[in-house]
């Protein structure tokens, strides 16, 4: 597993589908055929906010994560990245 850097730009893996549920969301990775759960609606907002943000931290803040909860949500993103649900991309890809 590569270390998770919250200052980097992260995107949902293109083979991952997200289905919102009352408790949070279900994530299904068509490549690994694994199902994961987001147990929290705010985390779903964070995952959705990744698109268009230059860093994971920026996505957390944009989604409304309180400053004192930031580390907790970044850890959750790190866990998603470890499962290959999120992928880092280069900044110039975003610009392009």
């Amino acid at each position: 597993m590569t270390a998770f850097d919250a200052a980097r730009t992260w995107r949902l893996h293109p083979q991952v589908s997200v289905r919102p549920e009352p408790f949070g969301a279900l994530l299904y990775h068509f490549g690994t055929r694994r199902l994961s759960f987001l147990k929290d609606r705010l985390l779903l907002d964070v995952v959705r906010a990744l698109d268009g943000r230059l860093s994971a931290t920026a996505a957390c803040l944009a989604a409304g994560v309180p400053a004192d909860q930031l580390a907790r949500y970044e850890r959750a993103l790190a866990q998603l990245a470890a499962g290959d649900l999120l992928r880092p991309i280069d900044r110039d890809e975003v610009a392009g």
Partner: protein, 402 residues
């Protein structure tokens, strides 16, 4: 405490149901080239009222709208439907992944090449013996060779991680290491599921279900292999031995799981083809979504259930009373112990139950006459001419853990 990935407390959430199933089994046809003795859908002959190609595509459209990630397609033998590949292509083009169960009869080299090229199709080959003798006694003459040939083709095509699916019986429970070797040889993942007394399985369950000592060995074996071996969470009744098996220990019937049968009937689970568990039909107004969201049966299943006598047992939190279908078709009350309860309560209940009046599975599409590949009797007292299992539902509830 982590906020991503699985946690036991989600069990409670799932017990109340979801907006759409996670794990949907869709049996495309009752037609099959085999006549397995334990076929849980009593398949054999096609039903004249099976969904048409257009109706099947409409179901896929609806699953796409409901964001059902993938379907477990079975039968019968689904690949014998002339429009099978057309429907697979249609599903994957509409963001509904497909895992299909097959006895391998149509998995030629060309088909294997095509399957290996798709990220959205998974294949599950059924095999119920690690040797031809044990397998063919249950699944029919030549069925071992057919499955092996299909696995060779998939392996040669570079399809990694297809599933080798085994229903654990009294006769193959001692072959688990051998099954694992076969799976490893072909780059497949082993999947073990529980024998249910459903369909024709009701006729052979007494003779085929694993003995108590075999259950314990199976439990130890599953614990030792952990995430390496899939189970569709079908052995959650074994968690009452002590340590929980990987995955969620929960009956998902009507809550996260259901079955669409070849004529469009929607049942609470693939092992419960009986009017008592029939929620509706996808041809009804409102289609599948209305059945899933509004059928009185499913709403009832999503209400808190009573564990009856089992709630007094110390193991109840682990096994939650076991499998509804297994109880139903062995004539046991739904709020009592599972017939294979590891504490022995099921065996006791079976002794006093009136087995003769146990409900019979609804519908029977068994071949009226024999088939060429009828199960062979080699001193294994199981064979009556009949047909295949398409295994479960991969319970994806095991989530990130598997």
């Amino acid at each position: 405490m982590s906020i991503a990935t699985p946690v036991p407390r989600l069990v409670d959430q799932f017990q109340l149901g979801l907006d759409a199933p996670i794990c949907l089994t869709w049996e495309l046809t009752y037609a099959c080239n085999l006549a397995c003795v334990h076929c849980l859908s009593s398949s054999g002959r096609r039903d004249p009222h099976e969904l048409s190609t257009a109706e099947s595509k409409a179901v896929i459209d609806e699953l796409e709208r409901m964001q059902v990630f993938y379907v477990n397609i079975g039968g019968g033998e689904p690949t014998v439907r002339p429009d099978f590949w057309e429907l697979v292509d249609y599903a994957t083009a509409h963001h509904v992944g497909v895992k299909f169960s097959t006895n391998g009869v149509k998995i030629t080299r060309e088909v294997a090449d095509r399957l290996a090229a798709s990220d959205y199709v998974d294949v599950q080959i059924s095999l119920d013996g690690a040797t031809p003798e044990v397998n063919d006694a249950v699944r029919g003459r030549g069925s071992y060779a057919t499955a092996v040939r299909a696995m060779e083709h998939l392996d040669r095509a570079g399809f990694r991680g297809f599933k080798l699916s085994v229903v654990v019986t009294r006769h193959n429970a001692g072959q688990l290491d051998a099954f694992k070797k076969i799976a490893d040889r072909y780059g497949a993942q082993l999947r073990l599921t529980r024998l249910r007394p459903s369909g024709r399985g009701a006729d052979v369950w007494d003779e085929l279900h694993p003995l108590p000592e075999q259950q314990r060995e199976l439990y130890q074996w599953l614990l030792a292999h952990g995430d390496d071996v899939l189970t569709g969470d079908s052995f959650f009744h074994l968690s009452a031995y002590g340590e929980s098996l990987p995955g969620l220990n929960l009956c998902g019937a009507g809550r996260v799981v259901c079955l669409i049968d070849p004529v469009g009937d929607v049942y609470a689970c693939p092992f419960a083809i009986h009017d008592a568990f029939l929620a509706g039909n996808i041809r009804d107004p409102g289609g599948f979504a209305a059945v899933w969201r509004e059928s009185p049966l499913f709403l009832d299943l999503r209400r808190p259930q009573t564990g009856g006598a089992c709630t007094r047992c110390s193991a109840y939190d682990a096994c939650r009373g076991g499998c509804m279908a297994a109880k139903f078709f062995t004539g046991l009350p739904l709020d009592g112990p599972d017939p294979e309860c590891v504490q022995g309560h099921g065996a006791t209940a079976l002794r006093v139950a009136d087995r003769a009046t146990a409900p019979r599975p609804s519908g029977d599409h068994s071949h009226a006459a024999g088939v060429r590949s009828a199960p062979v009797q080699l001193g294994i007292p199981t064979a009556r001419a009949r047909r295949p299992v398409r295994a479960c539902d991969e319970s994806p509830l095991n989530g990130g853990s598997r």
